[in-house]
């Protein structure tokens, strides 16, 4: 294949990878962000301690996090079919990616939220803040730089998952690397895809770092 023939293939691969990564990350946050905050709020030293709820939510998160992604991907095929109507292609990878990523996101959010100074939360409570106000007006804004850093890590991790999903016909750069590089013995293609993935990760990381830094008012 010539360079001209490769370009559309690789171009589509990049688009598919970005599509899977960004859509999955979005949905993973839709579930993981409230769940992570829930874990902090119901924590024994949180603002609404609830040991039972906290343990159940934590247990689910741990259970899902301990399942290897590839196994989860295959085990979830019935669910994937139910949601997307197919089990191959980029869209079909989104449900398993979301289910693999949201517990991870929840833990990231939890650890960011826990960094918020207990004293600041106490001050807000002393001014008559409700638990919801503490979450929306104190925890989220105060944890913002850390949440952005966490999101950067989440995006790059989820992109790693999309490459793995290439084994199951996910499309994207991972699929190209596996189909051409591994099955057709073209190691050059494989390495080219790896380098492309590295470049994309670097870009995400750099953008994330800058956003986090820019949003942080603790730095003079």
């Amino acid at each position: 294949m010539t360079v001209a023939e490769w370009l559309p293939v690789v171009g589509q691969g990049i688009l598919e990878t970005l599509y899977m990564t960004l859509v999955s990350t979005l949905f993973a946050y839709v579930i993981g962000l409230p769940l992570g905050l829930w874990l902090v709020v119901t924590n024994p030293d949180g603002i609404r301690p609830n040991a039972a709820v906290n343990r159940i939510a934590g247990g689910i998160v741990n259970a899902l996090r301990s399942a290897p992604f590839l196994i989860l991907l295959m085990a979830l095929i019935p669910l994937t079919r139910f949601i997307t109507g197919t089990s191959i292609g980029s869209t079909a990878m989104i449900p398993p990616l979301v289910i693999a990523a949201f517990p991870f996101v929840a833990r990231m959010v939890e650890s960011s939220a826990k960094e918020v100074d207990r004293g600041v939360i106490e001050a807000a409570l002393s001014m008559g803040a409700s638990p919801l106000q503490v979450v929306t007006k104190v925890i989220l804004p105060e944890a913002k730089p850390s949440l952005i850093t966490g999101a950067t890590i989440a995006v790059t991790t989820i992109m790693g998952y999309t490459a793995m999903a290439g084994v199951c016909g996910a499309g994207g750069l991972g699929s190209i690397a596996i189909n051409y590089g591994y099955y057709r013995f073209q190691p050059g293609v494989m390495w080219a895809m790896v380098i492309l993935l590295i470049i994309i990760v670097q870009i995400f990381q750099e953008v994330g770092n800058r956003l986090a830094l820019k949003s942080d008012r603790r730095i003079r």
Binding site: E122, G128, P141, R217
Partner: protein, 337 residues
Amino acid sequence: MSTPIIQIEHLTKTFGSGPAAVTALEDISLTVDSGEIYGIIGLSGAGKSTLVRCMNLLERPTAGSVLVDGAEMTTLPDSELRKARQSIGMIFQGFNLLMQRNALGNICFPLELSGWKKPEAVKRARELLKLVGLEDRENAYPAQMSGGQKQRIAIARALATNPKVLLCDEATSALDPETTLSILNLLKELNEKLGVTVVVITHEMRVVEQICNRVAIIADSHIVESGNVSDVFRHPKTDAARRLITPNVGAARKFSGKGKLYRITFDGTTSSQPVVAGMVLACGEPVNIWFADTKDIDGKAYGHMLLQLPENPVSAGRMLSYLDSQNVSYTEEVLDK
């Protein structure tokens, strides 16, 4: 004039349960009058921070009643309690400002919580910035401010909703002596100007001396002494109080001389005349100064001095009558062997 604003009765707070339970406060009763500055002093671990947190129910008392401005705090439902807290400001040792908001944003915060419209909140916040003398720092973030400035912003924030009570939990303990003084002066000024009742929690004598009208001394989960600052500090009745007020009392234990040891107290009623030197000159006999901790505030002497008087009881008696003539109070220091 003295209408009570905070009434605590038989308050007990226990952390944990069963054999591991720790009693932080036991059978505490106190009354803070409207418009006064009330000090609660104790060593760390005495339970004073827990006590102040029981006043706005950040800690829920295990037993007892907490009446603030006529409302029984312990039985208020959550939504009412949040309302009540809006009329009880609080400042902290660690300032506890929102790090991601600038000075103006921090002061607007309690106003947002109670549903103020943005333009009115900003207007009110600017008034408060002026009140605490930081009108030129409205866009500064906490990371860009000094400790004293941060505490001023915290005070402005605590007063934004016009509370009747301001609780200060070790508010000056993280500040240097000079900044401490300026914050204490600000609190006193606000107390006089706005009529806000101030409750000061501290482990530092000088804080109470500086601004408080009345004081309660808390030790080992109990209030051991309370009353007017001048009475309590001049004539402490309990060991715990003495330890706090005169921390160097241990110096006397090493004493092995023959003459009696007297502690003379300067409570500000004596002007800064040379009392000890005058006494020595008048009586013609030397004394031994064992310990002295005095300071001059607005031309008045405050503090303590530990003097060993001559062994001869007649000379010692003359010296004591000299002290009487100068209106200096003294007590004999009894040594426990």
